[in-house]
């Protein structure tokens, strides 16, 4: 194991983390800021990916696809908020879990109905394809570098939006006491529709960006959803900063764990068994990380609870 490989893996972990952040950011907005558990956030991720794949396939332009993914996911988010989510704010988390669980079914099967059961084609735009050589001689895919950049930029923008703007303050006030903020003259419903659509758009964007690297298929959102939950819980719900730190922590832990654990085990076990045991442990690692963080800090790293 060379140092260069370790650095490259760390970079991979960072990139994976930033990718998770794109998903977790939207979720933490909706989930933390609006106090709503949205299990269907993964479906919006899928909507983004499918919209991008469909439009990119029809027009040949990834960038048009990307725009379409934002539009489609935001529209789907707004629609869902207006028809379903809006009735759930006053309910407890349980009803939210059930309703958004049902939404997953609706979205998944609806998408399958529209697009069929076969995965769609979506590839990285030519301008960003292929590797670039980094200082130190690491060949690293350009697209992944761009993803890191986009993720960090969005983190900054969200941080500013929620922490610094009046819009952000009002959103958080609404989370603390929805009735009171309404009594102060803020149209919280409209605000929430906008926020939900924004969160959806972020998920859709993540879906499109990630879809170029992965398989665009029905159900693609659920594994990411669980990971995104893990991320924001580690980071502390409602905290954009927490989501970023949590995502990067999860990305690094997962990538480095998958890489290092089998090596670690092979120092005292037979290789084949070591890879299998190492991989088994690696697959549980982020959950162990999450449990560990919550046991020490029940409100997550940057949480208020």
């Amino acid at each position: 194991m060379s140092v260069m490989l370790l650095i490259e893996q760390a970079l991979n972990g960072l990139q994976y983390g930033v990718m998770l952040f794109l998903m977790a950011a939207g979720l933490t907005l909706v989930f933390g800021v609006m106090g709503l558990i949205n299990l269907a956030h993964g479906s919006l991720f899928m909507v983004g990916a499918f919209a991008c794949a469909a439009v990119a396939g029809a027009t040949g332009s990834f960038w048009l696809g990307l725009a379409a993914s934002l539009a489609a996911a935001a529209a789907a988010g707004a629609l869902v908020e207006l028809t379903v989510i809006r009735r759930l704010y006053a309910r407890d988390h349980l009803d939210q879990v059930l309703a958004t669980f049902a939404l997953i079914l609706v979205f998944s099967e609806g998408t399958r109905w529209l697009f069929g059961s076969f995965p769609l084609y979506l590839d990285i735009p030519d301008a960003l394809a292929g590797p670039v050589t980094l200082p130190g001689g690491i060949d690293y895919p350009l697209y992944r570098l761009v993803l890191i950049g986009i993720g960090l930029a969005i983190a900054g923008a969200l941080f500013w939006l929620i922490g610094r703007t009046r819009l952000g303050i009002r959103i958080r006030a609404g989370e603390a006491d929805r009735e009171m903020i309404a009594a102060l003259g803020v149209d919280i419903s409209k605000l929430y529709t906008i926020v939900f659509a924004l969160g959806a758009a972020l998920a859709g964007l993540a879906g499109a960006l990630v879809g170029a690297l992965q398989s665009v298929q029905v159900g693609m959102g659920e594994p990411v959803l669980i990971l995104a939950f893990v991320v924001i819980v580690i980071g502390g719900i409602g905290s954009i900063k927490g989501a970023l730190v949590g995502a990067i922590l999860v990305g690094l832990t997962d990538t480095l764990g998958r890489f290092l654990l089998p090596i670690l085990f092979s120092t005292f076990m037979e290789t084949s068994a070591a890879t299998s045991v190492g991989a088994a442990l690696a697959s549980m690692l982020i959950y162990i990380l999450m449990a560990g963080v919550l046991v020490v800090r029940p409100g997550g790293l940057y949480g208020r609870a």
């Binding site: 084609y121 060949d139 159900g219 299998s276 991989a279």
Partner: protein, 357 residues
């Protein structure tokens, strides 16, 4: 006397495309035969073992089927097959054929029409040397089928294994593994990553610029998914027992018939479904299913025109067949597979001796 078949397959959720192709292949043969005595009940197992078990119960208890078929996934097959055969029903596998059912757990009422799970990995392993791979990096998800696949590959592979990695089931990001491949000094890569995992890997692998030859079993490079990989899949080798360009009359009729009926190219799953239905029809013509021994003998004779050409059952009732290696090519607008060579001839499987039957 009509014969009732219960098809349990995955028609909803993430793995639906495989079940849909299985069903469509099967039903194409049924339609072509037009035999009014064959009745088919189809149900969706949602890829959940417990649902599959309950559907099997329902088909046996309420629908009173004689034959079960259609399961795509090994874990579902393990849940359904032993109980079904124990109740005297026939099970014809259109895909999943785990080693447990091939060896110690073989059963006179269980037939695998497709293969034994290891076959296609063995084909890849046997062919790797011919493709110039002497230092292989091998990779599969960490679950029983994945572990079997690496074992299957190694069974016939003669070169050195420079890296062996188990990934997580359902993993979508392979940057870490690709970095390991790059650093391993391998000259070829074997992967078994079914479904979306394969798509993700192949796209990321192509973008990484590593560029080593890639080989795998047919599942990862099947008609149902290579479109989604795009040009990234071009040139990938894969072990198979069937290919759309396989040159025999039955196959030509099947590929054309399937395209005409459903407007798309068939996958291996469709071909297995099609063969299974034809096998069943051939046995129906010879014996009544109520006479289990006669019907079993009729099945064993495998007296039908397989799309794979010559087809016979081994003593454990798995196919004895030629295994090929295919390459993903572009044919006009679409991607498809072409046979590039034969990997192993007349292969049965590794667990034959364990089967006491």
């Amino acid at each position: 006397e009509p014969l009732k078949v219960g098809m349990i397959t995955t028609l909803s959720g993430g793995g639906a495309s495989l079940g849909i192709d299985t069903r469509d292949g099967f039903m194409l043969a049924v339609k072509q035969a037009g035999n009014p005595d064959l009745e088919v009940v189809i149900e969706d197992d949602q890829r959940k073992p417990d649902v599959a078990v309950q559907l099997a119960d329902k088909m046996i208890q309420s629908d009173k089927v004689d034959v079960l078929t259609g399961i795509v996934w090994s874990n579902l097959a393990m849940a359904v097959v032993p109980a079904a055969t124990a109740q005297g029903k026939f099970y014809l596998s259109t895909n999943a054929a785990p080693s447990q059912l091939a060896g110690k757990g073989c059963n006179p009422n269980y037939f695998s029409v497709s293969y034994q799970n290891d076959n296609l990995h063995e084909a890849a392993g046997a062919y790797a040397a011919k493709a110039g791979i002497t230092r292989a990096f091998i990779m599969a998800p960490n679950y029983p089928a994945g572990q079997d696949s690496l074992a299957g590959f190694k069974r016939f592979y003669e070169g050195e294994v420079v890296g062996e990695v188990y990934t997580q089931l359902g993993q979508t990001d392979y940057a870490g593994e690709i970095a390991q491949i790059r650093a391993s000094g391998a000259d070829g890569v074997f992967i078994f990553l079914p479904g979306g995992m394969g798509i993700s890997f192949v796209k990321q692998y192509a973008d990484s610029g590593v560029g080593l030859p890639l080989i795998g079993p047919a599942f990862s490079f099947e008609q149902t998914i290579i479109q989604a990989m795009g040009d990234a899949a071009l040139g990938v080798l894969n072990g198979a027992n069937w290919s759309p360009d396989l040159d025999n009359a039955a196959n030509t009729a099947f590929v054309e018939g399937f395209a005409a009926e459903y407007g798309r190219l068939p996958s291996v799953y469709a071909s297995y479904g099609y063969d299974t239905a034809n096998l069943l029809l051939s046995a129906m013509a010879k014996a009544d299913v109520k006479d289990a021994d006669a019907f079993r003998a009729a099945l064993r004779a495998a007296d039908f025109d397989s799309v794979r050409g010559d087809f016979a059952f081994s003593p454990s009732q798995h196919p004895v067949q030629d295994l090929y290696v295919r390459e993903v090519v572009r044919d006009g607008d679409i991607l498809t597979n072409r046979i590039v060579g034969t990997a192993i001839e007349d292969r049965s499987h590794a667990y034959e001796d364990a089967c006491k039957m």
